[in-house]
C-alpha cells in the first residue's frame, strides 16, 4: 500500500499510479525469507521476540515473517499491530487518520520488539512508533525490519533488517504488496 509518509498532504481520493516494478512477487518472498533468517540468527531462541506490524503497510509483512519463522524455526512468535496516528509529531500539518485500532495483547516489558513496516522514508513514523510502544511496557530491545529503505532520512533512525535499498526522489511514491514493489506517483482522481 502507498506509504504514509508524504512531504505534502494527501488529498482524499488520490490514486497511486505505478511506473516501474522494482521487486517482483518472488523477490518479495525471498526477501521475507532472508529477513526471517536474519531475525532468527540475531535473536537466538526467539523466546522474547514480538513482531509488531505498523498499520497498515507493515502488518501483512509482520504476519508473513511470523509464518516463515514458524516454518523454519518452529517458533510461535506473537504478532501485534500498531497505529501511530496519535503519536505523529506533525499533527495539524497534514491529515493522518488512524487506519485501524492498535492491537497489542502481550506485555512488552523485557521483550525484543521487532517493528515491521513496508517502507522506511524520513523515519518519523518509526519515531512515533517508538513513543507509542512505550505505552505497552518497557521493551528490552527494539529492532526495525522494513521491506524497502528509500532514503531521505530526517532523524537518526536505521533499520536492522532490510528487504531492498532503493534510492528515490522525494516526490516519488513506493508501493509494497504481496505482488511486488513498484515506484510511481500519487495522482488526483
Amino acid at each position: 500500500m502507498a506509504e504514509r509518509e508524504r512531504s505534502h498532504t494527501r488529498p482524499r481520493g488520490a490514486v497511486f499510479v505505478p511506473r516501474v516494478q522494482v521487486m517482483s512477487a518472488d523477490d518479495v518472498r525471498r526477501a521475507v525469507t532472508r529477513m526471517a533468517h536474519e531475525i532468527a540468527e540475531r535473536n537466538r531462541g526467539l523466546h522474547d521476540v514480538v513482531l509488531v506490524g505498523l498499520q497498515t503497510g507493515g502488518v501483512a509483512i509482520a504476519r508473513r515473517l511470523a509464518e516463515t519463522l514458524a516454518e523454519v524455526e518452529g517458533a510461535d512468535v506473537p504478532v501485534g499491530t500498531l497505529d501511530v496516528a496519535f503519536y505523529r509529531d506533525d499533527i495539524g500539518l497534514r491529515p493522518v487518520l488512524p487506519e485501524a485500532a492498535t492491537d497489542i495483547t502481550a506485555d512488552l516489558t523485557g521483550a525484543t520488539v521487532v517493528l515491521v513496516d513496508d517502507v522506511l522514508f524520513t523515519g518519523r513514523t518509526i519515531r512515533a512508533a517508538l513513543n507509542a510502544l512505550g505505552e505497552y511496557g518497557r521493551a528490552q530491545v527494539v529492532e526495525l525490519a522494513v521491506m524497502v529503505d528509500r532514503g531521505h532520512r530526517e532523524l537518526p533512525i536505521r533499520p536492522d533488517y532490510v528487504g531492498k535499498n532503493l534510492p528515490t526522489n522525494r516526490e516519488e511514491m513506493v508501493d509494497v504488496s504481496d505482488e511486488g514493489v513498484s515506484l510511481g506517483e500519487l495522482v488526483n482522481r
Partner: protein, 322 residues
Amino acid sequence: MTGFPTHLLSMDDLDADAIGEVLRVTDSFAEVGRRANPKVPALRGRTVATLFFEDSTRTRMSFETAAKRMSADVLSFSAGSSSVKKGESLRDTIETIQAIGMDAVIIRHSSSGVPARVAEWVDHCAVVNAGDGWHQHPTQALLDLYTVRQSLGGGQVGTDRFAGLRVAIVGDIRHSRVARSQITAYAALGAEVTLVAPATLLPPALDGWPIASVSHDLDSVLATTDVISLLRLQAERGSGAYVPTMREYSAGYSLTARRALQLPAEAIILHPGPMVRGVEIASEVAELPSARITDQVGNGVAVRMAVLFLLLGHGSLDGAAA
C-alpha cells in the same frame, strides 16, 4: 464533502462519510481508553477551552477528559465562575479567549445559535457545539450512533447495519436538541426514524425532515422498533406546560416494564441522561441489559476525542494539494 468541517455546530455539518470517519476513529480512541495509561500526545501543545453557560458537569467533564487524554491543555470557563462575569457580553468573552489563544472552544448555551455566532467571530479556532438551546447537540448523537453500532457488531459491519434500522425517538422532541441531532444522524446512515410524542411536543412544522413517520401512540410502534431513544421532559425549557400532567405524560410515553416486553428481543434502549426514573423510563427497565445507558456515558469520551482529533488534527492545511 472534502475533508472534515472546520467547526462542529450541527449534525447537518456531517455527511454519511464524515460520520463513518468519526465512528472509525472512535474505535482507535476506545482502545486508548482501555490502556493502563489512557493518554496519547496527539494534541500536545494545543489549547482547548470549555465555555459552559449551562450547567452540565457530565458533559463538560467528558469533553475535558477527552482533551486531556490527547495531551491538550484545557481551560474551563463556566457560567457560574468569575471568569464569565454576568453582564460581560458573549462577544467580549470570546475575544478574551481568542486573545489567550485557543485552538478549540467547546460551547454549551441555553440560546440556540450561539455556537454559530461564535464561529463567525473566531479565527483559527474550531468551535464545537456541546448543546445550544433546542437546536443541536451533535456529539450526543454521535455517541448514540457509536453505542448502537457496537450492538450491531461494531466496525464497518455495524455502520452498514444502520440502513433500514427502525429507530423510535420518544418524548419532548419540540424542545430537544438531542432529538434534532439524532434525527439527522440516524437518517444520514439510512435508518428509518419515527417520532413518538403528544402533538404539543412535536416541532410546529416537520416538512422536509428526514423522518419516516410520526406517531402519538407509543404502544403501536414498540413491536417494530430496533432502537428506542428516550428523551427527557425538558421542564426547565418549558415542556411542562405542553402536557396536562406528568402522570398523563408517563401513562402515554413512559417505557414501563410492560412496554419493554413488547420490544423485539434484540432491541436497544437509549437515554441521553440524566434520566428521571419513573417518568421517561421505569427504574427496572433502565437496568435491563438492552438499556445501553452506561455504555453511552463511557463511549462519550472516546467519541469526543475523535471529534477533537478530526477538527484539530486536520489543522489549517497549507493548501498544497497533491
